[in-house]
Symmetry: C2
Subunit: 157 residues, 2 copies
């Protein structure tokens, strides 16, 4: 059984990094459409998407936001983090089959408030930047090493 662990404020330093990768599959786009309610045809309808500036179906921009939030919750700082805010700039579309990698880097540590600022850069498999942003979080107050909950089983029809 794999584990999740976190970094407390004292365990973090400026320049600390973490990465998180996901390949965007058909099922992911359909699942994100279902959970968000965003059934925009540029995500779901190949024929419609072919007539747009993108020329093909693209993933929801906020799916990349979801990956950033997962990277923060799972990797750095990890469980116990309080998510305060996030900025996002969507720079290039993510298309089905792309593998995106979220790169996190700690750029500020506020000792008094225990706030952590994290620069987020998301690249695709061609190392092109698809999204950037800045996260603000409150560091976990206690060290945690916990069993990793199973990923919920979801089937997409």
């Amino acid at each position: 059984m794999s584990q999740l662990s976190n970094f407390t404020f004292e365990e973090m330093h400026i320049g600390q990094t973490a990465r998180y990768s996901k390949t965007v599959e058909e099922a992911d786009v359909r699942m994100f459409a279902a959970v968000s309610g965003d059934v925009n045809p540029v995500h779901l309808d190949a024929e419609f998407a072919a007539g747009t500036r993108f020329g093909e179906r693209i993933a929801h921009g906020m799916l990349t936001g979801a990956y950033i939030s997962a990277a923060i919750a799972i990797e750095l700082p990890g469980p116990g983090t309080i998510y305060l805010g996030q900025s996002l700039k969507f720079r290039l579309p993510v298309t089905l089959g792309d593998t995106v990698t979220v790169n996190l880097e700690i750029t500020e540590l506020d000792e008094r408030k225990k706030f952590v600022t994290i620069e987020c850069t998301v690249i695709n498999q061609e190392e092109k930047v698809v999204a950037t942003g800045t996260a603000q979080v409150m560091a976990p107050t206690e060290k945690l090493v916990i069993e990793r909950p199973a990923t919920p089983e979801v089937s997409v029809n």
Copy 2:
């Protein structure tokens, strides 16, 4: 069959509003965990969550971000919108069973670039603000009135 329509730049005005509501169910939190990969136990494990500052399971903050993105994609400006950026501040936790309403209001229209700035305020069923943010989008270039794609069927085990 219901339809989706959009607002082109010329059809929008400062102060224009739209709303989008969702009730956060158990299945939504599990689906968001699956699609993002964020299996943090504060979202999935009631016993673990009881020992946190929240006292109970909470929805992923970025699920609220997903609702904002859906409101923009579906309601205002709607299909054909290019999502450029989003800021988010997470102000209060969203718990299972909460009904959240995204309120959008157009606050700036950049005639030259066709950029639209939208203030986003998300409230719960007690009218408490759970998240705020600002979206920047490029307006749809053509008027669309299209068939609303079916929401993908997803089953959560």
